[in-house]
Point group: C2
Chain length 208, copies 2
């Protein structure tokens, strides 16, 4: 055999699979051989779903979350609180917030966070479009829901400064504190320190 | 959002990807979102390659290796030693042997090994077709190249017994011994014992 594999079809599939992050040639070969053992319908469904995914999904013109329509179901919904925008880094974070079941407002997906180390400046993110939305729509609160990292804090602060032109707007950020279920000894001292400073009334933790 | 993801296309892709072995829903989501960030052509190439793989590949009628044609390139080749068959467990093992560059004969892929624990009996493997090939073709040697495991040894012995009806046939198996590059202290005592019993002439290791 001149090529590494007996078949160019197998070679193609392995090459394409191994382009995926975290999948090397060995894993790609294992996956391809697995598909060969399965029903034809299953392999075709997988292949077609990936084609449909990339060709059918676009980004919401308003919040920049992924969407199959120009305006995503959240932005189009009449059942959600249209006066609150939750600002997140990426599409995955929208899913994380949705899964909590605690949020019923709109979103704004930045598409990244400010990171000079990675050469990502504010002009590369959907920050201007956020300011524009707040100016045009009837927004009363913007929740900054970025990660508790230096880049997240920098981005939060940058957006906060930009939003200061709206005097009546409430700008909030996610609470920082101990993770639910964690012991004190496993909580780092910075988080524990913040949890002390930002302690909440015990009576607020029940009832309400 | 009623469903977990904002999009049924994303949902479909994640569901199909997570059917693959070793890929859970979190990894599937990461892969799907990766594809969304890439060029459309790349995602389409991946999807199409998986469809082509499963619809275009069949198994060689003679050796049961994967093939795009009824008879695989190895079996159809005039440049290979057609008097020797190397018996392997699966398609991946054919690739392993080919990569050594030391083998120029034909193959026979069993499609598994005898394993009562997994309910795999000899009748479920391509053993009868091997005996048939040896009876019909001009085969002088069968190399049993199964793994050095209990199941491999059992299968080797079963095939060896079946092949004893051909008195002039040479039946060999892969040498068992120390791995190249290994120290004695890291070689298990059974392997080391066999290496002692089956020691070879030093002068055979160079020139010849």
């Amino acid at each position: 055999m001149e090529q590494e594999f007996a078949s160019t079809l197998l070679e193609n599939a392995v090459r394409e699979l191994s382009r995926l992050p975290g999948i090397g040639r060995k894993t790609a070969l294992r996956l391809a051989l697995h598909l060969l053992r399965k029903d034809e319908a299953e392999a075709v469904a997988l292949g077609q779903s990936l084609i449909d995914l990339r060709t059918g999904i676009t980004y919401c013109r308003s919040c920049h979350n992924i969407s199959e329509t120009e305006i995503c179901p959240v932005c189009a919904s009449t059942g959600r609180d249209r006066a609150t925008i939750c600002v997140v880094e990426n599409v995955r974070d929208v899913m994380s917030v949705e899964r909590t079941g605690q949020y019923h407002g709109l979103y704004h997906v930045l598409g990244g966070i400010i990171s000079p180390m990675d050469g990502i400046g504010p002009e590369m993110l959907e920050i201007d479009s956020l300011i524009e939305r707040v100016g045009k729509e009837e927004i009363r609160e913007v929740i900054l829901a970025l990660g508790a990292t230096m880049e997240g804090d920098t981005t939060n602060f940058y957006i906060y400064r930009k939003l200061s032109e709206f005097p009546d707007l409430r700008v909030t950020q996610l609470a920082r504190g101990m993770s639910v279920g964690n012991d004190l000894e496993y909580t780092d001292e910075i988080t524990l320190g913040r949890s002390l400073l930002q302690r909440t009334l015990f009576s607020d933790s029940f009832g309400k």
